[in-house]
Amino acid sequence: MTPIDDDAPPLDPAESLALIERERHNLGRDLSPDPRMMFWPWGIAWLVGFTLFFLRFGPDGRVFVDLPEWIPLTGLALLMVAAGITTGIAGSRVSSRVSGPSTRQGIMYGVSWSIAFTAFSILFGQFSDLLPEDKAGLLWAGGMVALTGALHMAGGAVWNDRDLFVLGAWTSAINVAGILIGPGWHALIVAVAGGGGMIAAGIIGWQRLR
């Protein structure tokens, strides 16, 4: 049988398979949010925000840089809001290109983050005043980083994305290490290994899509 119209002549099998892979890669790339936009804002927020925490609230109550007390928390909060807006825009731009179950999956995943973070905040808010300042800080930071790790692992499961799962497992592991070593060090570990992990995830994801 011959092709049913006079389109470009068929390729040989190897060329056809290469063509198939090329088009699948192209569309896959166009339908994925830019990993740099999804991970770098968070990586930078953690790197800068938790470094401020470490400098102001160091191990054993040390103060490396005598910043005003409100600076680290305000800085981290503002950077995280900016990161949330950036990833929200980058994600929704891509999701408008497709309609169907995967769009719903993306929305449900995004909403899970908001709901889970709100719930943790309300829970931790009940204990902030009861704990010494350094332990309260560790509870907040450790809890939020644990949640981030868990949601990244869940995202890896939802999209069968091994890199995302590894990022979540890595984040969870360094978080536990930091918690056990104690307040102050936890902030430094999360800044460097946690923030650095997300920046690395952005680079790896970007190179795979190119």
Binding site: P3, D7, A8, A14, L27, G28, D30, R97, V98, S99
Partner: protein, 104 residues
């Protein structure tokens, strides 16, 4: 390895055995089973003209391989395209046949 091109033209699905439609179906195969892509996005990813893509989509639609839906996203009319189950099967058979030709 088979360097004989005869089986190619006798066994392969004639609907997708044309470069442009193979490209369309390959791209659509990335979508989840019930996901639909907007026409402009498909056109951009495939780097085809709107007219050319429409012609090939119509042929694929006639074969029952794709489903084209007109809808509204907010107030703007949108055309959405998806690969049908039949189209996905045809694509899977086609790639399997290509692999068989390469590694008989």
């Amino acid at each position: 390895m088979s360097d004989n091109s005869e089986p190619l033209v006798t066994e392969l699905d004639p609907v997708i055995h044309a470069q442009a439609r193979l490209r369309v179906v390959s791209a659509l195969s990335v979508l989840g089973e019930h996901d639909r892509i907007t026409f402009p996005q498909l056109q951009e990813s495939l780097r085809m003209t709107a007219g050319n893509l429409s012609v090939h989509l119509r042929k694929l639609e006639d074969a029952g391989y794709v489903e084209v839906t007109k809808t509204h996203q907010g107030r703007t009319p949108a055309t959405l395209v998806r690969l049908t189950r039949r189209g996905r099967l045809a694509f899977d058979d086609y790639t399997a046949a290509l692999r068989a030709l390469l590694n008989p």
